[in-house]
């Protein structure tokens, strides 16, 4: 047998650098780490609450400091990016056929934006 197929190795660690679309994918995946980190902040908040009013006030004061604000801003940006990157692909995962035709993708995406806005407003006003 003369055949001797040549296999090109793919780097297990740097493969995603080879194409912009892989970097975009990694950005989507990596941003979920920030959401994960934020859950620790919430746990810490709960811990402070459990330690009484004083501890909780100190915790809230800390959040208002430059590091706390910075952390929240970074997490907010990452979360928004992460969420939007999923909104974009929902028509693929959940197509809706009405009669013969499929509902246009942009309608499904816009419905998500709409729902997001509504939920955000409710939380905002409920909080006030």
């Amino acid at each position: 047998m003369n055949s001797k197929p040549y296999v090109r190795e793919v780097s297990k660690t740097t493969w995603f650098l080879s194409h912009p679309r892989y970097k975009r994918y990694m950005a989507r995946e990596v941003t979920c780490i920030f959401i994960f980190a934020y859950t620790f902040l919430l746990i810490a908040a709960l811990g402070a609450l459990a330690n009484g009013q004083e501890a909780f006030d100190a915790f809230v004061l800390g959040l208002g400091g430059p590091l706390g604000v910075l952390f929240n801003v970074v997490v907010l940006i990452a979360t928004v990016y992460h969420s939007l990157s999923w909104f974009v692909v929902t028509p693929q995962a959940m197509p809706i056929q009405m009669g013969e035709e499929f509902v246009a993708g942009h309608i499904i995406v816009n419905a998500h934006y709409g729902a997001w806005a509504v939920v955000s407003l409710i939380i905002l006003f409920w909080g006030m």
């Binding site: 001797k4 197929p5 892989y22 693929q92 056929q97």
Partner: protein, 251 residues
């Protein structure tokens, strides 16, 4: 209609001959290309006029036979649908499809894909038996449209060349094979989903997919395999909940 424009293009082609090479190497050819040409035309020019030893697959030259998938400037493309006028630089790099072993020059090994395609039972498993003499199964245009898109796969395997999961985990069934299972699952005449589910809802099946979406971006026929895989994940998840939380719902 204007006269046809011509441009000299440097085609940098990855060559590999297992009988004479230990590893692939690049060879550059200077080809006088018409602007309306596709990369395949340039390869044919090389084959006929510059170097008869260059090997590649091609047939229909109209993006339907799926033979001529290759990497053009790092992007999985059908050579017959990679237009010269889209490459403004005077240089085009042509390599065999990524993620497949190179047999020779631009020819890659197809067997892995064929085996995987066969494993998903990509044929109609009729819901009901009906002799041919009883005529056709009825299917409304809406029912047809539900799966039509997934029938358009030409098996060119560009989606595998684009899929990083397939690159990292070669056992992954991959976009085209799973989409074909989805095509039959969605067909109103078919009753074979349970038989296919074992293979496609496995670890090497849809759950290996992390929804990079590259497959759908490179698909020349707009099959959207990524969509098919996510839909299978959603349906399989619903199956799981039904089975574990609502056992009375099970058939």
């Amino acid at each position: 209609m204007s006269e046809l424009q011509q441009r000299q293009i440097q085609l940098e082609v990855l060559r590999y001959n297992p009988e004479t090479d230990t590893a692939p190497r690049y060879q550059t050819y200077s080809v006088p290309c018409l602007e309306e040409w596709v990369v395949l035309d340039a390869l044919n020019y090389i084959k006929d006029h510059l170097d008869p030893t260059l090997s590649y697959r091609w047939s229909c030259h109209m993006a339907v036979c799926g033979s001529c998938g290759m990497m053009v400037n790092g992007e999985p493309k059908l050579a017959c649908k990679a237009f010269i006028h889209e490459y403004k630089e005077g240089q085009i790099k042509v390599e065999p499809m990524a993620n497949f072993p190179i047999e020779r020059d631009l020819v890659t090994s197809v067997e892995d894909f064929i085996t995987k395609l066969a494993s998903v039972k990509p044929y109609l498993i009729p819901k009901e038996d009906k002799p041919v003499s009883a005529g056709e199964f009825k299917q409304t245009p809406a029912e047809l449209k539900k799966f039509k898109q997934y029938t358009l796969c030409i098996n060119c395997m560009l989606c595998y060349a684009a899929c990083p999961q397939y690159a990292l985990v070669p056992e992954f069934l991959g976009p085209a094979a799973i989409s074909m299972a989805h095509r039959y699952n969605q067909d109103s005449r078919d009753g074979g989903r349970d038989q296919r589910q074992e293979v496609i809802a496995s670890d090497e099946g849809v759950w290996e997919c992390s929804f990079v979406g590259a497959c759908s971006e490179v698909c020349p026929k707009h099959v959207d395999p990524a969509g098919a895989l996510q839909q299978i994940k959603v349906a399989s998840t619903i199956d799981w909940y039904k089975e574990h939380l609502m056992p009375w719902m099970k058939k």
